[in-house]
């Protein structure tokens, strides 16, 4: 077998494995989503749930499923996809697993704007989303420009992101400390992310964002794969590095900001999805699609655990935080030992 044949065969195996993983993940998401509709303080049989979804009036089940569990499930799926894509886009672009939007301060911008609008300006719904997205983008642009625009070094971008993130965290803490007692449960979601109390009406903007911006990232992903070779090599292979980077940044920031405006910054989902997907598909850096699916599965599974596994109901972000924290530290150690990308 010639070298070329061997490479092609390996490529095929890789693609087959990726497809299998995506299929398995999709099935896992469907199972988890069904579980989320069935399980809760009252367990309804699947047949009742399906009838309720069709719009029939099933006593009890109709309200619980349509008003409480369906929005919760959908927001989990959408936010998971959004965080997953956004995180993996940043990680591939900056060639650093630790450079996910939650660590370099982009999510902080969206979160700060959302907290400000809800608790100070008493806004709700689409206005909050719009403000969160706008501000998330502004923060991303500021970080991008300070780090030297097109020619930025990853290290500098990360440091600047950490600095700006610290400022935004200060804003969030200030608003939370000033908030009245009633608002604190609402506000707590802005510390770690939660699916509690999401309404169906909040979801269309997020769904549209996932479709449009997620689609954009998928469209760009062949070029993004070139970034793994380094900026210069990618440019030599015909990628317009500056333009791709800008488009990708806008799309990824938009995704995480939309998701943050609905669920709050669910800790570590953006950060975890990419590396987990890469592990599953056996690739060096995860592609956008598997990362999106891993993100959705993570959020759903974590929310189920948070609701059912303990005496106290924990918001989804607390669970993903606990899952993500050790992994983050492990990744950090491994990256440093291997002399990673920084």
């Amino acid at each position: 077998m010639t070298t070329a044949n061997r490479i092609i065969a390996q490529h095929r195996r890789q693609a087959a494995r990726r497809n299998a993983v995506c299929l398995a993940l999709a099935m896992a998401i469907i199972a988890l989503a069904a579980l989320m509709l069935v399980m809760g303080s009252v367990i309804y049989p699947l047949s009742d749930v399906i009838r309720a979804l069709r719009g029939e009036q099933v006593r009890g089940a109709a309200f619980a499923v349509m008003t409480l569990r369906l929005p919760r499930m959908l927001s989990g799926v959408l936010a998971g996809i959004a965080f997953g894509i956004s995180g993996s886009a940043f990680q591939s672009m900056l060639r650093n697993s630790l450079a996910s939007p939650d660590i370099i301060g982009v999510t902080g911008g969206a979160g700060a704007a959302a907290v400000f609008c809800m608790l100070i300006l008493r806004m709700s719904g689409a206005g909050v989303s719009a403000a969160a997205v706008t501000f998330g983008l502004i923060v991303a642009v500021i970080i991008y420009m300070l780090s030297g625009g097109g020619s930025f070094g990853g290290g500098r971008l990360i440091l600047i992101g950490i600095g700006i993130g610290a400022m935004l965290q200060a804003v969030i803490s200030y608003i939370l400390v000033r908030a009245s007692q009633y608002d604190v449960p609402v506000a707590m979601r802005w510390l770690s992310g939660s699916l509690n109390g999401t309404k169906l009406a909040e979801l269309p903007p997020l769904a549209a964002a996932v479709l449009l911006l997620g689609g954009a990232v998928l469209f760009l992903s062949p070029r993004v794969r070139m970034f793994a070779l380094g900026d210069d090599m990618a440019a030599a292979l015909g990628v317009n590095v500056k333009q791709t980077r800008l488009l990708l940044t806008v799309a990824a920031v938009g995704l995480s900001a939309f998701a943050t405006s609905v669920t709050g910054p669910i800790s570590f989902v953006a950060f975890l999805s990419g590396p987990i997907a890469a592990r599953l598909t056996g690739e060096g850096r995860a592609a956008a699609l598997p990362s999106a699916l891993v993100g959705a599965a993570l959020v759903l599974a974590a929310d189920l655990i948070g609701q059912l596994a303990f005496d106290t109901r924990f918001p989804v972000g607390a669970i993903t935080g606990i899952l993500g924290a050790p992994y983050l530290v492990f990744l950090l150690i491994r990256q440093n030992v291997k002399g990673g990308a920084i």
Binding site: L98, D102, I103, L146, S147, G148, G153, G155, R156, I158, L159, I160, I162, G163, I164, G165, A166, M167, Q169, A170, V171, S173, Y174, L176, V177, R178, V184, P185, M188, L191, S192, S267, F268, T312, F314, P315, G317, A318, G321, I322, G324, A325, P326, L328, V329, L332, I333, Q335, N336, V337, K338, G339, G340, I342
Partner: protein
């Protein structure tokens, strides 16, 4: 380095001390109630029979004193950590030491029922030192040792990990955790002389250790081999400096809550004016740090009037741009 002569440094020191006096006076006089000079003098000197304005000033004294102590301690801690790690970004906030202290205190409140300041202090110190060792160990793994980016990422990542543990412990107990919610935002408003007295010994010990280590730490800046060649015991010097740094920031954090960036900002400002010699940077940073913290606290009271914005939040606003500035200015390769 003849340009950094002794006379100039004395001048800088006098200027800084003057600035500190002004900051202290501002801290006493500004707030939701403005007071006159006569009232300040009355409030500081009298022991009883206050007028309204004098009483306000009198109430502000412990907070101002604590601002002085905490600012000095945090700035010295940052200076020492930067010298020990030979890393311009070392700061209790960035290294995640504050979050370590926070987690330890939350664990203490939730599972061990701690309540007194001494217990807070013990837990905060334990959490701070464990986290500091861990972050430095993780950050210095691999090629190139503890570079600024690796250390900052290790600190931020560890901080994120620890704070998710904090919120996990905190969430089911949100009603009984109000005290912590306020402690967490970092401020010097709740200080009492009793509290200051109980952390004072630790701060004095930390400062003394730091001052002892200064000469050897200076040599360390040349690199370990050169320092060893000059007869410095590098391991012992590092340990001494690190212990001093953790004592200083752990004790302050126990009483004030996490106040970030003072330890980062003060030494950087001072080095710009007075050069890199630690024998001057350490005391000057202490003075500068106290000024910055007092200013941050006063600004928080003026902007947030009639309430206040905690000094820890204001200092993040002052300090983070300086972190960004350092990152923008330095060469990518140096990061």
């Amino acid at each position: 380095m003849s340009s950094w002569n002794h006379g100039r440094r004395c001048l800088v020191f006098i200027a800084c001390a003057g600035l500190l006096l002004i900051c202290a006076a501002l801290s006493l006089s500004l707030g939701s109630r403005q007071v006159t000079l006569a009232e300040i003098i009355g409030g500081v000197t009298k022991n009883a029979g206050f007028t309204m304005g004098e009483l306000v000033v009198h109430q502000r004294i412990p907070r101002t004193v604590f601002g002085l102590v905490a600012g000095c301690a945090l700035a010295m801690s940052g200076t020492l950590m930067q010298a020990v790690t030979r890393n311009p970004l070392a700061d209790p906030g960035i290294l995640g030491v504050n979050t370590g202290a926070a987690l330890a205190i939350v664990v203490g409140i939730a599972f061990f029922g701690i309540g007194s300041l001494v217990q807070y202090m013990a837990f905060a110190l334990l959490g701070a030192s464990v986290t500091a060792v861990f972050v430095y160990a993780v950050g210095s793994l691999g090629y190139g040792g503890a570079t600024p980016v690796k250390l900052a990422l290790a600190g931020t990542a560890t901080s994120a990990a620890l704070s998710s543990l904090v919120s996990l412990i905190l969430l089911p107990r949100s009603t009984s955790m109000d005290a912590f919610r306020f402690w967490q935002s970092g401020g010097i408003g709740g200080a009492t002389f009793g509290g200051i007295a109980s952390i004072a010994p630790l701060i004095v010990i930390g400062a003394a250790l730091g001052i002892c280590a200064v000469g050897s730490l200076n040599a360390l800046a040349l690199g370990d081999d050169a320092a060893a060649g000059l007869g410095v015991k590098t391991a012992r010097t590092r340990l001494l400096g690190a212990v001093a740094g953790v004592l200083l920031c752990g004790a302050t954090t126990a009483l004030a809550g996490p106040i970030g960036f003072i330890g980062l900002v003060a030494p950087h400002i001072v080095r710009l004016i007075a050069g890199p010699d630690l024998r001057y940077v350490l005391p000057l940073s202490a003075v500068a740090g106290a000024s910055v913290l007092l200013l941050a606290d006063t600004a928080g009271r003026v902007i947030g009037s009639p309430g206040e914005i905690e000094a820890g939040l204001v200092s993040a606003f002052v300090g983070a741009p300086i972190l960004v500035f350092i990152a923008v200015r330095s060469k990518v390769r140096a990061l």
